[in-house]
Symmetry: C2
Subunit: 757 residues, 2 copies
C-alpha cells in the first residue's frame, strides 16, 4: 500500500510536502489502533479484499431483481428469506423481524383532460422486448404516489414548476392563484412529497407530478432502451408522505409498528397528503401542458418539451380520480449479527434496504449486493478464526421506498437498546460508477478520509480519496479548490433524509454515515419498471467494479470501527463544521436583512412597477417586516467552548497514540461509551419545533426540502420562515446542546487523562 | 417639465438629495446652451414634440413594407425614391447617391442528408393566410447567407454549438475534429459571420446555421402566427461577410464603390467566406441533428428540440450545394440636408437604413419611420422660421443588411469632408417597446443622460432615464445597483458593430450614437418573411408609442447638437470609462495568468484525466505558455494625463456656463473644431493589427465576436490571443493615442481659457 501510494502521488505530480505528509500518514498507525493493532488490521483488510467476488454481486442482483419485490409482495418476502438464508450461511445469527405497516396501493387511477379537448392519460409504462422483466405486469405496482389520499377532483390546471414555496411567490407576482385548481409540478428541485404539501397549503385541490425530459429524459441522452434515459412513458413512483414531520408507518409515530401497537385512525394520520397526488410520464403530461394558456412560465421553469410553457390557469381542465386499498402489510427486516468478542454491547450497524418499487436492480440492489458481499467476506474471516472486538449488525431493511418503514419501526422498537449500544450506523442505498460520496456525522470525517485513502478507484487506480479531491479541484468553485489544497481532510456532507440512516441519526442520535459511488453511471430508470438487471448491467456498473469498491469502502469502515481500540471519533472537524454552519446562519440573516431592505425600497419606490411590462399582469409583492438583528452570542460562546473541548480531546488522543500508550480495557470501554454519547448529546428530547420526532439539533431534513439537509435546523428554518422570536429561542437551544456536547467531550478527555495517570 | 419631474421623484420616494439634485439640474441651462438659449431650445423641443404624429409612422411603415425591398430590388429603388420625395416635401435638400456594390443572390440551394437516411431540406418559409405579405414569393429573397462562396460539398456532420473558438476546444477535449466535415451551428453566441470563419479555420468544408427553438422559437413563446416567435420553418437570412476585417462592398475596401472605382477580382475579395454557408429552419435542422451519434453535447450546448443533442461526427452525412449570381447592383442612399445657419461646415448626421431582407417592418422600418417623422417635424420648424446653427443631414442608407454597404461606401467616398465637418453621427435601426438603449461615444454620455431625462416613457409616464435606472436596479447585479444609485450619469454602452454607425465611428473617428427602445416587444421574425406590418402591429409596438418616443429622443439629440453654442462633449465620463477598460484588460491578463497556472497544474498532475469518465473519449488540453506580466505602465501614465485634461476641460466649461460667460462666434467655432477632433484623436491611421480599416483605438467589433464590442481592442485581443509581444506593443500605441487625445482636449481648454482673457 505504501509503495503504491507513493508512486501514485509522484505520478500525480503532487507537491513534495503533500507526498511527505502522505508518507508520514502512512507510517502512522490507523486511527484508533496501536501500531501493532494497525498492522494486524491492514493484514485483515487485505484478506477481506481478496475474498470479494464480483460474480456474487451479479448473481445476487439477478436473483433479487428477477421479479417485482415491493413492500408486501410475495417476492419481497421471498427475497427477505433468501437474504436471511445467505446471512445465515455466512455465519451470522440471523432473524427476520416483521412489523405491520400501512401501505396503500391503487384501486382506481384516472386522469383525463375534459377541456379544451378530451384526453385520457395512459398511466402505464410499456413492456419492452429488450428488457425481459419489463413485461411482468401482473406483479408490478402501477405508477402512483404512496400515501396520497383518495380523491375525485376536477379543476383547471396551473403549472407550478417544482412546486416549492418560492414558485408560488412567482405565480402571485403574475396574479395567479391555485385555490380550487389542480397543479402540475415537475419532478426535481425538492423531494417529491413537498410538492403536494405546498400545493395544499396554497389551496390546490389536486397535484400531478411529471418527469420532464429536461431532467432525466432525452435532454440528458438517448432514451431507454436505446440509451439509459427515461422514455416518453417512463414515470417515477414514489412516496409523498410528509416525512419531514416523521418517517415510518404513518399510524405509529415514535413507536414500533408491532402487532399490538396503538395505531392512529387512518383519517388522523398527519403524514398522509391533504390532496390527491399522481405521478405521470411526459407523454401524458405534454397534452395537458400544451393546452395551457396564460403568461409564459419564467425562463428557468421551462423544460425540454417542444412547447411554450404557459402557466395557466386553464383552459386545460383535468379530472383526477384516485382510490387506494388502505391495507396493513408485513415489513420484513433481515437482521444479522456477529457478536463482539470484547465489547459485545457496542454495535456497529450496517444497513441497506431490500424492497424496491418494482424490480429495483439499481435502487436498492446495487447497494444491497455490495453489503451482502461484505457480510460474506466478514463471515469468512470469522470462520478463519478472527473475531471483532465489537458486535457487528448487518441489516436489510424492508419498506424503505414507501417511507423508511422497516428501519424506522426497528429503530423505534429498539430505541432504548440502540441509544445504549449503537456506536455507528453505516448506510448505503443505490450505487453507481464514479466518485465516492460520503455523507454523515462530522465526528467521523477524519476517520472516513483515512478509509477513502486506503481504497483504490477501479477505473483510475488512484485512491478514491484522491479522485474525490480531483473532482472538486476540476469542477468545484475557487473556494472548493483552495480548500481541497489546504485542508487536511476532505469535507463530508451533512445528512438530510432519503434513506434508512434517518431514524438512527435524527431520532436516536447515533453517529451515522451514508456511502455510495456515483457521478458517471447516470440514467432515467429511477422508480420505474426499467430499473432492471438489463438496464443496470448495460448502463450503470456493468462489471460491478464499483459494487466491489463499495464493499471495500463500507467493509473497511465496519472492520475498523469493530476492531479499533478506541472508537475513531474526533471533534476538531466537527467543531470547524458547526462553526461554518453558524457563520452560514448569521450570513443568512444578514443577507435577508439587506435583501429585505432593498426589496422594500423597490416596492416603496414603485421601481418594480416601473420596470414591469404593462401588457402583462404584474402584482408587486408586499413589503416584508424588516429583519431584526438576532442574538447569536449564545451560539458563538458555546462554539468557543466546543472548539476548546474538541482541541483538547483530539490533542490528548493523538498524543496517546504517538506515545504508543494503551488504556486498560475498562478505560477503553468507558471512553467508547463517552464517545458514543457525543452524538446523543447533539439531540434534545423535545425535538425540533412542530416536529418533535426529529431530535438532532445539528442535522435535519428541511421542512420544505424533504431530502435536502438543513444544518442547525431550528435556527435556520426559523430565519427562513421569518420567525424572529423562534430564531432567537433556537439559538439558545442550540447553544445549550453544544454545551452538553462539550461536556461529553470533556468527560472523554478526562477518561483519557485519568487513564494516563 | 420641472413640476412633473419633481412630482415623479417624490412619487418614487427618491431621497431628498436626489430630488434636490434634480431640481438643481433642472434649473441649470441645458448642456452647451446659455440660460436664454436653453429656454428657447426647450420651447423649440415642445413645439417639435407637438408636431409628431403616430399615424405618419403607421402609414409609412405600411407603405414601405408593402413589398420585399432588399438591396437591388425594384421596391428598394421605389422606397428610396419615396423617402427622397418625402424629405423633399419636408423642406430638405435631398439627393439619392448611388453606389455599385457586389451583391450575390442564390441560383442553386440544395441541402440533403444522404446517410443514414435520405432527407431533403425544404429551405422555404410557408405563406400564412394571417399575414398577407408572406405570400409575395415572387419578390422574396430566399433563405440564404449573403457572401457565402459557391460550393458543392458532402461530408459528415458535426454539431458545434455557437461555433465560436472555445466550442472547438470543447470538441477537441472529446476527440472531435471538424477537418473535412460539415458543421452545423446554432444562431446566437456571436455574430453569424464568425461561425463559418472559425469553422473554416478548423478545416471544415461547409457550414449550416440553424435557428434553435430555444433561442427564438417555441421555448420563448407561442410561434407565429399564434404568437410572435419563430415557427418551425422560419429561418434567419443574413450576411456572413467577414465584416470585422472591413464592412461595405467586399470589392472596394477603404474606397467608395463609385462607378469607376478600382475593384478587387471577386476571387480575391478577403471578406467572402472560405466555405459555403447556409441558414436553415429548425424543421430542416431536426432530422439532421437527430441523426447524429457520438458523445452528448455539453449541457449548455443543448437547445429545445425534443432530441438528445449528440455531437457527431456523423453518421449523418449531408450534401450542400450553393451557387450564387455574383452581380453588381445599385445601392441607393437617400441624403437630405438642412444647411446650418451659423456653422454650416459642422454636420450633425442622423441615419437609419431603409433596405430589408424581405418586408422588414421591424428591421429597419420601425427605426426609419421614426427618423422620417423627426425630419418632418424639423422641416415644419424650419418652415415656421427656425434655423439650426449647424447643418443637419438625414440619411436613409441602402444595403445595410448585406454588409453596411450604403453607409460605408458613402463614408469612404466622402471621408475627407466627413473628417473635416462631421460633428456627431446618430444612428438607429430596429425599434421596439421597452427601455431606451444608448450606445456610443463616451464623450456624449453626459449629454445623452440629459436628453433621456427630458423624454417621457409612454407606458410609465416617468422619464426614460428613470425607467432605465429602474431596470438596472431591478435586474442588474449588486454592482450595477450600487452604481446606478451613486453615479451621477447612467453609463452608456460602447459600440461594436451591426449597424451603420460603424464607418463613422471606427473608420473615420466621428463621435457616434446608436439609439433604440427594446426589451418588451420580443419575437422571432428577425430576417424572415414574417417581419411584416402585421407582425409588428400585433406584437412589437402596436400603437407606435415607442416609435414616437424614438423620434422624441433622437430628434432632441439632433436639435440640441445642431443648436448648442458649444458642442456638448465632455471628458470626465470618457476618462472614467477608459480607466475602467484599462482595469478590465489588466484584470484579464491577471485572470488568464492564474487560470493558466492552475490549468497547467491540473494538466501536469493528471487531475483532469483522473476525473474523466473512462467510458468517454477524453483528450486533456495541452499546457499553455505561462502568462507573463505585461507592462501596462505607459497606459496608466497616459490615463493619468487624460484624467487631468478631462477634469480641466469639464471644470472650465462648467465654470463658464455657470458664470453665464459666452464666447465670441470665432472662439465657439474653433472650440467646436477642437472638440470634433477629439474623437479623431482616438484613431490611428495604421488601424488595428491585421485590420487597418478599423482605426479607432478605444472601440471595435471583436475579431471573433463580430457585433460584440472589444474596447481597447488592440490590447484586449492581443491578450485574448495570447500574443504577449503584440499586447505590450499595443499598450504603447493606446498610450500614444490617449496622449494625442489629451493634447486635443488641452487645446479645447486653452481656447476656452484664451477666450476668457
Amino acid at each position: 500500500m505504501y509503495l503504491r501510494l507513493q508512486r501514485l502521488l509522484f505520478a500525480l505530480g503532487l507537491s513534495f510536502a503533500l507526498v511527505a505528509q502522505a508518507v508520514a500518514v502512512d507510517n502512522k498507525p490507523l486511527l484508533g489502533f496501536t501500531r501493532e493493532g494497525s498492522d494486524r488490521e491492514r493484514e485483515l483488510e487485505a484478506r477481506f479484499d481478496s475474498l470479494l467476488k464480483r460474480d456474487d454481486l451479479r448473481e445476487w442482483m439477478k436473483r433479487l431483481s428477477a421479479r417485482p419485490h415491493h413492500l408486501g409482495s410475495a417476492y419481497d418476502r421471498e427475497n427477505a428469506e433468501f437474504i436471511a438464508s445467505q446471512f445465515r450461511s455466512f455465519g451470522f445469527e440471523t432473524e427476520i423481524e416483521t412489523f405491520d405497516v400501512l401501505f396503500p396501493t391503487p384501486k382506481t387511477r384516472l386522469l383525463e383532460m375534459t377541456a379544451p379537448e378530451k384526453f385520457t392519460a395512459k398511466l402505464a409504462e410499456p413492456t419492452l422486448p429488450d428488457d425481459p422483466t419489463s413485461g411482468q405486469t401482473a406483479e408490478q405496482l402501477p405508477v402512483y404516489n404512496a400515501y396520497s389520499i383518495d380523491g375525485d377532483v376536477t379543476g383547471q390546471l396551473v403549472y407550478v414548476n417544482y412546486g416549492v414555496p418560492r414558485d408560488y411567490d412567482a405565480l402571485a407576482e403574475r396574479g395567479i392563484d391555485v385555490k380550487g385548481k389542480i397543479v402540475i409540478a415537475r419532478y426535481g428541485g425538492s423531494w417529491r412529497g413537498i410538492k403536494p404539501k405546498v400545493a395544499a397549503e396554497h389551496g390546490a385541490i389536486g397535484c400531478l407530478i411529471y418527469s420532464d425530459p429536461r431532467d432525466d429524459g432525452y435532454f440528458q441522452g438517448d432514451v431507454y432502451p436505446k440509451g439509459a434515459w427515461r422514455n416518453e412513458y417512463g414515470a417515477q413512483r414514489g412516496s409523498v408522505a410528509d416525512m419531514p414531520l416523521y418517517p415510518g408507518d404513518p399510524l405509529t409515530p415514535g413507536v414500533g409498528a408491532t402487532k399490538n401497537a396503538k395505531r392512529l385512525p387512518i383519517k388522523n394520520a398527519p403524514t398522509l397528503t391533504k390532496i390527491p397526488v399522481m405521478p405521470i410520464s411526459y407523454a401524458d403530461a405534454q397534452p395537458l401542458l400544451r393546452a395551457l394558456n396564460g403568461p409564459m412560465a419564467p425562463e428557468d421553469w421551462r423544460g425540454a418539451l417542444p412547447i411554450p410553457y404557459h402557466l395557466g390557469p386553464g383552459p386545460a381542465t383535468v379530472h383526477l380520480k384516485l382510490e387506494f386499498d388502505w391495507k396493513i402489510v408485513p415489513a420484513n427486516d433481515v437482521i444479522a449479527r456477529i457478536r463482539g468478542n470484547e465489547r459485545p454491547d457496542e454495535w456497529i450497524i450496517r444497513g441497506n434496504h431490500h424492497d424496491a418499487w418494482v424490480n429495483g436492480a439499481e435502487d436498492p440492489l446495487s447497494g444491497l449486493v455490495a453489503e451482502m458481499e461484505e457480510a460474506r467476506a466478514i463471515g469468512e474471516l470469522v470462520k478463519s478464526g478472527w473475531k471483532p472486538k465489537r458486535t457487528i449488525v448487518y441489516a436489510a431493511w424492508d419498506g424503505e421506498e414507501p417511507g423508511l418503514l422497516g428501519s424506522t419501526e426497528w429503530a423505534e422498537t429498539h430505541a432504548d437498546l440502540l441509544k445504549k449500544n449503537a456506536a455507528v450506523y453505516i448506510n448505503s442505498d443505490t450505487n453507481s460508477r464514479g466518485f465516492l460520496g460520503i455523507e454523515g456525522s462530522h465526528t467521523l470525517e477524519k476517520f472516513m478520509n483515512e478509509v477513502a485513502r486506503d481504497v483504490t478507484d477501479p477505473e483510475k487506480k488512484v485512491s478514491v480519496l484522491e479522485r474525490s479531491r480531483a473532482v472538486r479541484i476540476v469542477r468545484g468553485s475557487a473556494d472548493d479548490r483552495r480548500e481541497v489544497r489546504e485542508r487536511a481532510d476532505l469535507r463530508i456532507s451533512a445528512l438530510g433524509s432519503g434513506s434508512d440512516y434517518t431514524s438512527f441519526l435524527d431520532h436516536l442520535g447515533i453517529a451515522s454515515l451514508n456511502l455510495g459511488y456515483g457521478g458517471e453511471g447516470r440514467g432515467g430508470s429511477y422508480h420505474s419498471i426499467y430499473d432492471s438487471f438489463t438496464h443496470f448491467t448495460r448502463f450503470i456498473d456493468p462489471n460491478f467494479d464499483y459494487g466491489i469498491a463499495l464493499s471495500q469502502t463500507a467493509g473497511r469502515t465496519v472492520l475498523r470501527l469493530a476492531n479499533a481500540d478506541v472508537l475513531p471519533l474526533y471533534f476538531n472537524n466537527l467543531s470547524d463544521t458547526i462553526e461554518r454552519y453558524a457563520r452560514e446562519v448569521t450570513k443568512l440573516a444578514d443577507d435577508m436583512r439587506e435583501e429585505t431592505r432593498q426589496k422594500n425600497q423597490e416596492i416603496g419606490n414603485h421601481t418594480l412597477e416601473m420596470v414591469a411590462d404593462p401588457t402583462q399582469v404584474y402584482v408587486a409583492p408586499k413589503m416584508e417586516e424588516p429583519v431584526p438583528y438576532l442574538n447569536f452570542a449564545p451560539l458563538q460562546n458555546s462554539l468557543t467552548r466546543l472548539e476548546g473541548s474538541a482541541r483538547r480531546y483530539d490533542a490528548a488522543i493523538s498524543e496517546a497514540a504517538s506515545a504508543g500508550r494503551t488504556l486498560s480495557p475498562e478505560a477503553e470501554k468507558s471512553l467508547d461509551e463517552a464517545l458514543m454519547r457525543t452524538e446523543r448529546a447533539m439531540t434534545r428530547e423535545q425535538g425540533l419545533p412542530r416536529r418533535p420526532w426529529f431530535k438532532h439539533q445539528i442535522y435535519a431534513p428541511g421542512f420544505y426540502t424533504g431530502y435536502g439537509v438543513k444544518t442547525l435546523p431550528g435556527v435556520r428554518e426559523a430565519i427562513e420562515q421569518r420567525n424572529w422570536k423562534e430564531a432567537n429561542d433556537e439559538v439558545v437551544i442550540v447553544a445549550d446542546t453544544l454545551d452538553s456536547l462539550s461536556a461529553e467531550i470533556d468527560r472523554a478527555t478526562n477518561i483519557l487523562k485519568g487513564a494516563r495517570r
